[in-house]
Every structure is written in structure tokens, then in C-alpha cells.
């Protein structure tokens, strides 16, 4: 109980910190923040349920008015912007990422499983509500909204690879702490 609470809270804080540290600029010049990497890590490290709870806790703090989203945004207002679908999708993405890491990991390298889980959970699963949200808020059709999401896919692929590598490194350093494997 206490251990679960502590992990959920500390990883909620980690999502916030990854959004606030200086952003990484890709070769293409598209600036990305590590916040969505935090969402993936919640799934790959904490597993489905605890990962989703950590993301929900983080979103709760944002809603209460703390400026913890990338770029220092926050408040209830962020749930009324076209990005709302991504915010709603985050806990679902963390759950899916964690679920895949838990189920399909046995005998395979963790970096590979966690990386693939991050692609499916953190990109495929996440973009569905994300695109629906943009379509609804900007009054566009789904194909038009999908077009708007395209530029973010390369950055998210990089983050999924990083999520896999970081998860494997964490499992080597603290074997008992990667809860998605216990």
C-alpha cells in the first residue's frame, strides 16, 4: 500500500520534472519535451494500474492549478484546449504500455519489449483520443485532424526507443524496483 502510493507519487512528480527540464531539439529542429517520455516510463516501469494512477495524479495536480505541463502550462483551462484528447489519452496510454510490458516480456530483452510497448501504448493508443479531441475542438474531420498530428510522430518514436533503453537500464540498476516485472 505505502510502497504503491510512494511509487505513484514519485513518478507523477517525475512526469512534471521531465516536462520542465530544458527541451530536447531533434535534428529536424522540432523541439520536443520529455513529458510524454515520462508517460511511457510510468507504464514500462510501474506497470498498467500504477502507471495509469501516476498519470491521473499528475493530471489532477495540473487541474488544481499547478503549472506542470510542458512549457509551464496548467489549470483547468488545459482541458478546454484542442490538446484535451491527448491529456485524456495519457492515462490510457500508460495503462496500455504497462499492460503490454507486463504480458509480453518473458524471455525477451526488456529494452525491446518496453520500447515496442511504448510505441503501441504511447503513440498508437494515445493518438486515437488525441486526434478525436483535435477534430472535435477545431471542428475538423478525423483525416484532417490526423494530418495535424503527423509532425509529432518522429519525436514520439525517438521517445519510445529512449523509454525502452531507460527502462532496461533501471532494471539493471534496481532489479526489484521495476514493478511491471514483479
Amino acid at each position: 500500500m505505502e510502497r504503491n502510493l510512494a511509487y505513484v507519487a514519485l513518478f507523477a512528480a517525475l512526469i512534471a520534472v521531465l516536462g520542465l527540464i530544458p527541451k530536447i531539439t531533434l535534428m529536424s529542429g522540432v523541439p520536443i519535451t520529455a513529458q510524454s517520455l515520462g508517460i511511457m516510463l510510468c507504464g514500462t516501469v510501474l506497470g498498467a494500474r500504477r502507471g495509469a494512477l501516476a498519470v491521473l495524479l499528475f493530471l489532477g495536480l495540473v487541474a488544481l492549478g499547478l503549472p506542470l505541463l510542458a512549457g509551464g502550462r496548467g489549470g483547468i483551462g488545459v482541458f478546454f484546449t484542442p490538446s484535451v484528447g491527448y491529456l485524456i489519452g495519457w492515462p490510457i496510454a500508460a495503462y496500455a504500455t504497462g499492460w503490454i510490458t507486463e504480458r509480453f516480456g518473458a524471455g525477451k530483452p526488456l529494452a525491446l519489449t518496453a520500447g515496442i510497448a511504448s510505441v503501441i501504448g504511447g503513440i498508437v493508443v494515445l493518438y486515437v483520443p488525441g486526434i478525436i479531441g483535435m477534430a472535435a475542438m477545431l471542428d475538423k474531420t478525423l483525416p484532417q485532424a490526423s494530418l495535424l498530428a503527423l509532425p509529432f510522430i518522429p519525436g514520439d518514436l525517438v521517445k519510445a526507443v529512449l523509454a525502452g533503453l531507460v527502462t532496461a537500464a533501471l532494471a539493471r540498476a534496481r532489479p526489484g524496483a521495476v514493478l511491471s516485472r514483479s
Binding site: M1, E2, R3, L5, A6, Y7, V8, A9, L10, F11, A12, A13, L14, A16, V17, L18, L20, I21, P22, I24, A34, L37, L41, V45, L57, F58, G60, L61, L64, G65, L66, P67, L68, G71, R73, G74, G75, I76, G77, V78, F79, F80, T81, P82, S83, M137, L138, D139, K140, Q144, L148, L162, V166, A169, L170, A173, R174, A177
Partner: protein, 206 residues
């Protein structure tokens, strides 16, 4: 940690958090469902008026809070500009600005303590389901305590990196940061258990 609550006092600061949130829900639902341009622009004007009633400096702070919309406004303007559908584009932007503006107003005029008190009140019935009702507030407090701690760590790790390399640390900070979060989590869970755990109805606030 700094919250987005405005230090400029307005009459709205005195209103109850629950009242403001309820009003926000009703208002946003009405604006979103309405297709009538007059209603949408009326709503946007009303929100602007509410800000101005709090003083010019307050209204300027509110305007700065709208920055996240700039990207989407540019896209909508470009899109509808190419298609020549200016009226539809303006309507989308009006709806966004009205709903986002009023939500920001609630955030700017409600103290974090009041929001957390509301969470505690809403969570109270959880006790009947066998869930510890202090859990949500305790988790929120833990995160608020540890975000500044981790930010400081991130800064220290960044400095240590720059002392050794001319390149930017970038993603290489993520692993040590996550590792420290894991170690902190173990310590926090030990500390919580040593103080009797989450269950007993102690009055201390984590």
C-alpha cells in the same frame, strides 16, 4: 511550489471553489453546444468583461494565460483562410477562447488550498467503499513536495554533466533522474510505514 493563482485580488477570489467549477461546467457546455455565432461571441465578450472587472493588470495576466491557444489559432486561421471560410474559423476560435478563458479565470482566482479542500470533501464518501479518503490529498501533497526536490536534482545533474562535457546533457539525464525517483519512492514508503502507514486516522499531513 508556485501555483497559477493570481496575486491580484479580485471579487472572484471570495467565491467558493465548488460554485465556480459548477458555473464553469454549465457555461462551457452551453458554449460548446451552441452553434449560434451571436451566442458564442456574447459568451466571449462576457468572459472578457469578467477579466476587465478585476482590473487592467489582472486582465493582462489573463491574456498571457491564453498563450497556449496561439498555435491552434494560427492553424485554424491558416486553414480557414485558405478555404475562404472566415466566419466558421472565427467561430471555432471564439468558442475556444471563451471556454479556455473562463476555465483560466477559475484557476487564477482559486487558491490551491481551497482546491485541495474540495478534493478532500469530494473524496470523503470513498470511506464507505473501503478506500482511505485521505489518500487523494496525501498523494497530491507528496507530489507537490517532490517536484521541487526532483527539479533541484535535475539541475545538479545538469551542472555535473556540463562540468565534464561541452555537449548538452539532453536525454542522458532521464535515467539518473528516474533512478533517484525510484530510490526516493523506497525511502518514502519506509517513512510512511514507520509513521503508522496510510490507514490510521492520524491528523498529520504527510
Amino acid at each position: 511550489m508556485l501555483s497559477l493563482t493570481s496575486p491580484i485580488r479580485t471579487p472572484y477570489h471570495a467565491l467558493r471553489a465548488s460554485t465556480k467549477l459548477l458555473a464553469l461546467c454549465v457555461f462551457t457546455l452551453a458554449v460548446t453546444l451552441s452553434g449560434d455565432p451571436r451566442a458564442v461571441w456574447g459568451a466571449a465578450a462576457l468572459v472578457a468583461g469578467l477579466y476587465l472587472a478585476g482590473g487592467l493588470r489582472f486582465a493582462a495576466a489573463g491574456l498571457r494565460m491564453l498563450r497556449p491557444l496561439v498555435f491552434f489559432v494560427a492553424i485554424v486561421a491558416l486553414w480557414h483562410g485558405i478555404l475562404g471560410e472566415w466566419a466558421e474559423g472565427a467561430l471555432v476560435i471564439g468558442k475556444l477562447a471563451a471556454a479556455f478563458g473562463l476555465a483560466n479565470l477559475v484557476t487564477m482566482t482559486t487558491r490551491l488550498d481551497d482546491m485541495i479542500a474540495l478534493v478532500e470533501r469530494v473524496a470523503a464518501p470513498l470511506a464507505r467503499l473501503g478506500i482511505e479518503p485521505r489518500l487523494p490529498a496525501l498523494s497530491l501533497a507528496l507530489v507537490m513536495r517532490f517536484v521541487p526536490v526532483q527539479l533541484q536534482r535535475a539541475a545538479a545533474l545538469g551542472e555535473a554533466w556540463r562540468a565534464r562535457s561541452r555537449r548538452r546533457p539532453g536525454w542522458r539525464l532521464v535515467t539518473p533522474l528516474a533512478l533517484l525517483a525510484i530510490d526516493d519512492a523506497e525511502h518514502v514508503s519506509d517513512a510512511l510505514r514507520a509513521r503508522g502507514g496510510v490507514r490510521p486516522p492520524a491528523s498529520s499531513k504527510g
